[in-house]
């Protein structure tokens, strides 16, 4: 999952550094991701992982690093009953 997230960030995060070299806990905003770019990352994550982030998750801290995004996705998947 980490690599899929990393790819989405590389495609949509508009970082000023290469996403391939990012540590999982590196601050994406410090790496140049703007608020506008973060919205595109969120949309791409929802699309790719077929989830919807509820409003309580739509905040800076949830999307500030690869590991934070991974934790949020895991939390969402744990909440969703498997059909």
């Amino acid at each position: 999952m980490t690599e899929e997230i990393r790819q989405i960030i590389a495609d949509h995060g508009r970082l000023s550094v290469d996403a391939a070299g990012l540590a999982p806990d590196a601050d994406l905003y410090h790496a140049g991701m703007t608020s506008h770019a973060s919205v595109n990352v969120m949309l791409a994550l929802e699309d790719h992982f077929d989830v919807e982030f509820p409003d309580r998750m739509l905040k800076r801290s949830v999307f500030e690093s690869i590991s934070a995004i991974e934790a949020a996705l895991n939390e969402l998947r744990a909440e969703t009953p498997v059909s």
Binding site: Y29, G32, V39, M42, L43, F53, P54, R60
Partner: protein
């Protein structure tokens, strides 16, 4: 509880008195001459109103946020520029007080602010960022003798010349991204201000907000440890929108009061007949009610969210949308009410020297949609709406 209610009431009656005795009689001169409302600010100092929000442990008044907002409204009814200076000062104080996180330099700073009733201005906008407060070009730069410096080109610094201290947003370091910002507080005697533009605007003339190149040398402890993006989303943005909206509501309320006084005067001249302007006044009342309702409900929501443990909702996008909407709605509705009042009062409102003059009110509130431009906020909202769910 009763102690805090008493504090709020004492604060509000003091601010109302200052508004009546100092802001009102000087409002026309402040506006005409585009001069700083020094009588009002000095009188607020006498009442220790500049440290009203600071906790009593640090020597402040311990007044609630709602009372500060009501104070902005009261001042707005008498002099828009005085209210704007007061509101901007409170925005800085509230931002420091809520995010100092035990930092000793900032605790001492608030004590000093309370002791000396220091006025704080902000250097947040910057030439080259297109009005985006969330990005900086100027950076905190370490010197080789343990201090820090910066130089920032600011297109407007409200009452910069009259302030005792400056709150400045900067990039964390020369190699930091534009959005990697920190907040710095410097004393005026640590700073140099070179005025680079004039100040002869349409309204809010007493805020005295020309452009400056600001530089300073300061200690590393004067950088607030909490990152600025957090201060901005949790406090500075919603507090700014709520305090500004309250003072715009105050200005619009006075314009309405003047229109009502005009209609009453007309009714007295022809007893038994309802003057034609009375109908317009009725229409105007519903416009004012909309403004009042929007400001009141947004403020209540903010107070409610702040009372929740962890204040988590403050950093959510849906919350950002909520307060962005307040700003857009209030900044458009306030001049609408003032223009409606002009329609009621007619030529007596258009003239600048009658009891029914509303020209200053209209001009002052026309600044509202430009201060943090509404179009910029719409761009942000458009982006947030792509992802926010329950707005």
């Amino acid at each position: 509880m009763s102690v805090s209610v008493d504090r709020d009431q004492a604060f509000l009656s003091a601010v109302s008195r200052v508004a009546d005795e100092f802001a009102a009689p000087n409002a026309d001169a402040v506006d005409r001459d585009a001069r700083f409302p020094s009588e009002t600010i000095d009188a607020l100092r006498e009442e220790r109103a500049l440290s009203a929000f600071v906790s009593p442990e640090l020597g402040g008044g311990g007044v609630s946020f709602a009372a500060i907002a009501a104070g902005c409204r009261e001042l707005g009814r008498r002099c828009g520029a005085s209210a704007m200076v007061f509101a901007m000062h409170q925005i800085k104080v509230i931002s420091v007080a809520r995010h100092l996180d035990g930092a000793p330099w900032f605790e001492d700073y608030l004590r000093e602010l309370a002791d000396e009733q220091r006025l704080i201005a902000s250097v947040t906008s910057e030439v080259g960022t297109g009005g985006d407060m969330g990005r900086s070009i100027a950076a905190v730069t370490a010197t080789d003798h343990g201090t820090c410096t910066f130089e920032k080109k600011a297109p407007t610094v409200s009452y910069g010349e009259h302030a005792d201290d400056l709150l400045v947003t900067l990039r964390r370091a020369p190699d930091a991204e534009p959005s990697d910002q920190v907040m710095v507080v410097v004393h005026k005697d640590q700073a140099t201000l070179e005025q680079v533009s004039s100040w002869d605007p349409l309204g809010m003339r007493g805020t005295c907000s020309p452009g400056f190149v600001v530089g300073a040398e300061f200690a590393p402890e004067q950088v607030l440890p909490t990152p600025f993006p957090r201060v901005m989303s949790e406090t500075m943005v919603p507090v700014t929108h709520i305090l500004w909206s309250n003072l715009w509501l105050g200005i619009a309320t006075d314009a309405f009061d003047r229109a009502r006084a005009f209609v009453r005067a007309a009714a007295k001249q022809k007893p038994g007949e309802t003057p034609p302007a009375a109908l317009r006044l009725s229409h105007l009342m519903s416009e004012l009610s909309l403004l009042r309702a929007e400001v009141g409900s947004a403020q209540s929501e903010f107070v409610e969210i702040c009372d929740e443990p962890g204040r988590e909702r403050l950093s959510e996008m849906a919350t950002a949308l909520r307060f962005n909407n307040l700003k857009i709605a209030a900044s458009e509705q306030a001049p609408k009410v003032c223009q409606g009042a002009l329609g009621v009062c007619g030529i007596m409102g258009f003239k600048n020297d009658t009891p029914f003059s509303v020209g200053r009110h209209l001009r002052d509130t026309m600044s509202a949609s430009l201060m943090i431009a509404n179009e910029r906020i719409h761009h942000t909202n458009a982006s947030l709406l792509l992802i926010a769910k329950d707005v």
